[in-house]
């Protein structure tokens, strides 16, 4: 919010902007705090609606409008899964209370529970931009940058992960559910990382990296590592908000989002450069920034609890992450570029950036208290709570565990390999040329873009078709009312006939 003051200075419609942002924050808080499934559904849709309105905030720009509608339709379709699952739960339990459901889920018919589980998975995948719904998030980057940071990195996309985490104890018994979640996470993480490696738009790189990191979280839930997933969620929201805001400062001063026309900004914007590098270190998983700890925890859990092929995918993704992060930083801040006039971020932007940078450096210290908090508030998720996990002592325990785990060193090696590949990339030009078809496919979104566009077009066509029924003619409206009454009477008749 503070950041927006500088970013939007002199733009029109600020009242609309701030009202929507506050509405969104309220809905998000409600979504997370509510123990009522129906309220969750309602808040879920409100966040989707706010996100749509804010993406299309520059409503003169057709790209922004298209991106907004895409986000609305895709997340709305996912919401159908959530709604259907909730209604099925209500039909079975007779209440929307989440704890009641969790307590009585064992009595559900397995098939119904599977349907509910996969409905929720669809909702979460759509909301968190996971495979195969991942393409809406990069298009949502037409939004003002503070919105991208707030909604599309820090809060809304995490709602899907949150949903999965919250219900994971119930659905983990469903055959195939955990594996599907794990596969969705791994595939999203990998695909998004490759796309981030070829994108040239700074915000799109960040968006794909968001999808990739969310894939990590979903993967962790699939592996049953709820704490690791939630901890990565915390780290990610801090460092990704930092990255987005820093990117916003860059874009604001350079006036373009194309990384090819940036470069050499490290001397012009030293502060922004510094915080961006901190965020990048976290994204790439390099110690001692918070992203390192949480990501290593996820990988450790994946190695011990998940299937081995998924672990390999995640390892490759880690390397790719390091690669594209380095590429991004280099292109923006260090690439040779012609001289041009840019200005450092404004004071309000700095006020927002510095605490986030500090947060990226230190939030991993909270691991112990965070784990204790989760164990206290979510007893169903952690049946065997460790008694001595709490405070800084817990953090040290976790940290030493991470540092001694073999997976950490493997991952660090892969990170180094990825970074190395980027720095000595010239000998690999030949390979790069041979990989060009892959690269083109990645730029085209591997065809999923086409699927999502098809869905969108279908929904819009349906809307247009339905619009013709809204003739606005009073007499036809009355006719429709009469038809509805006839339908109700028929239903009454049938029910009465059945009742005797």
């Amino acid at each position: 919010m503070v950041f927006s003051v500088d970013y939007l200075r002199g733009e029109e419609g600020q009242g609309r902007y701030y009202a929507l942002v506050l509405f969104f924050i309220g809905a998000m808080v409600g979504l997370v705090l509510s123990a009522n499934l129906l309220m969750v559904v309602i808040f879920w849709e409100i966040t989707a609606l706010c996100s749509w309105a804010l993406i299309s905030f520059n409503n003169d720009d057709p790209k922004a409008v298209a991106g907004g509608i895409k986000a609305l339709i895709v997340t709305g379709l996912g919401g159908v899964g959530l709604l259907a699952g909730s209604l099925a739960i209500y039909a079975q339990v007779g209440s929307f209370d989440i704890p009641t459901f969790m307590a009585r889920a064992n009595g559900f018919p397995p098939r119904l529970l599977a349907w509910i589980g996969f409905g929720f998975l669809a909702a979460a995948a759509a909301k968190s931009a996971q495979f195969p719904f991942q393409t809406w998030l990069p298009d949502a980057m037409e939004a003002p940058t503070p919105i991208s940071a707030l909604i599309h990195a820090a809060t809304m996309v995490n709602a899907g992960v949150y949903l999965l985490a919250r219900f994971s104890p119930v659905f983990s018994g469903v055959p195939g559910w955990s594996l599907s979640v794990l596969a969705v996470g791994a595939v999203s993480a990998f695909i998004a990382a490759t796309m981030a490696a070829v994108a040239n738009d700074l915000k799109r790189v960040l968006a794909w990296s968001t999808v990739s990191q969310l894939g990590f979280m979903v993967y962790a839930i699939g592996a049953g590592a709820v704490f690791q997933s939630q901890f990565h969620l915390l780290s990610h929201s801090v460092f990704k908000a930092l990255l987005f805001l820093a990117a916003g400062a860059v874009i604001h001063s350079v006036g373009t989002r194309d990384m090819r026309s940036m470069g050499g900004l490290s001397r012009k914007m030293p502060l922004t450069c510094a915080v961006f590098i901190i965020g990048s270190l976290a994204l790439a998983g390099i110690p001692p920034v918070n992203g390192f700890w949480s990501k290593e925890m996820i990988l450790g859990a994946g190695l011990t609890r998940g299937p081995f092929w998924a672990y390999i995918i995640m390892l490759v993704t880690v390397g790719l992450t390091a690669l594209y992060t380095l590429r991004c930083v280099w292109m923006v801040f260090f690439a040779p570029a012609e001289d041009r006039h840019v200005h450092e971020a404004g004071p309000a932007m700095k006020v927002a950036l510095i605490p986030l940078a500090i947060g990226s450096l230190v939030t991993w210290l909270l691991a112990g208290p965070f784990q204790a908090l989760l164990e206290r508030t979510l007893p169903l998720h952690f049946p065997a709570a460790v008694a001595d996990s709490g405070g800084l002592k817990g953090t040290w325990a976790i940290a030493s565990e991470v540092l001694t785990a073999p997976s950490t060193w493997i991952a660090l090696g892969v990170v180094a390999l990825g970074a190395f590949l980027w720095t000595v990339r010239s000998p690999f030009k030949g390979i790069g040329a041979r990989l060009r078809p892959v690269r083109r496919a990645a730029e085209a979104g591997y065809g999923f873009e086409a699927i999502n566009r098809g869905i969108m077009r279908g929904v819009q066509g349906m809307g247009e078709g339905l619009r013709s029924t809204q003739s606005g003619l009073l007499n036809w409206n009355v006719a429709a009312i009469v038809m509805a009454v006839i339908a109700v009477l028929c239903a009454v008749w049938l029910v009465a006939g059945q009742g005797g």
Binding site: N475, W476, A479, M483, V485, I486, L489, V492, W493
Partner: protein
């Protein structure tokens, strides 16, 4: 049900008990139940006249005439309701339905003005007839069995008590409704099309239909 409201003023109980149908027409209804045929004929006539008035109100080409037919329909219906043993409702219907509403209609027509509009309907007539046919069939099918079954034991709750006590929430809401209706219509009527916007003319389209 009656015992639930012991401290209700005694005088209300004395005001009005349930009457038989046609008891307003004959004072000896209880003594000669067989003589209902005459009343039945009267009721049939009144209700037929009501229906005719309603039909004429729809068919009349001029709005003012239509409003007057509606007033007639309302008055006849009020009479028929009184015949059925509910004179209070009849009186309210007569004063409000036939009186107030007619005045408002005449006022609205004088403000809006007469306008001859073609008879070509938007909804095709066969569709309209089909809808009404299905609707009536279902309604009749669902309600008639209730009529054939013997009358249920009568609940001797006095009318005014029902209105003011059992359904007091309704009554309070009605008052609120009247206020909001008055305020709303006043607000609507006060809003004039000034502010430099000229209402679009639709005369050509009207002539063609």
């Amino acid at each position: 049900m009656m015992g639930a409201v012991p401290n209700f003023p005694e005088w209300i109980d004395g005001v009005r008990h349930w009457r038989e149908p046609y008891s307003t027409l004959r004072s000896d209804a209880r003594k000669y139940p067989r003589k209902e045929g005459f009343c039945m004929v009267i009721q049939t006539l009144v209700l037929s006249a009501t229906l005719i008035c309603a039909l004429q109100a729809i068919r009349a080409p001029r709005l003012l005439v239509s409003a007057l037919w509606l007033a007639g329909c309302s008055a006849l219906l009020a009479f028929s309701i009184a015949l059925l043993g509910a004179p209070e409702v009849g009186v309210v219907e007569l004063s409000v339905g036939a009186g107030l509403v007619t005045v408002i209609f005449v006022f609205a027509i004088s403000v809006a003005g007469e306008e001859t509009i073609g008879l070509t309907s938007v909804v095709p007539r066969p569709v309209a007839w089909a809808l009404i046919g299905i609707f009536l069939f279902l309604l009749a099918w669902l309600t008639l069995p209730g009529l054939v079954s013997p009358a249920l034991p009568r609940d001797a709750l006095p009318f005014l008590r029902a209105l003011w006590d059992e359904r007091s929430l309704d009554t309070v809401l009605q008052v609120a409704l009247i206020f909001s209706g008055v305020l709303g219509s006043l607000g609507l009527l006060a809003e004039r099309s000034d502010s430099g916007h000229t209402p679009p003319k639709a005369g050509g389209e009207r002539a063609s239909t």
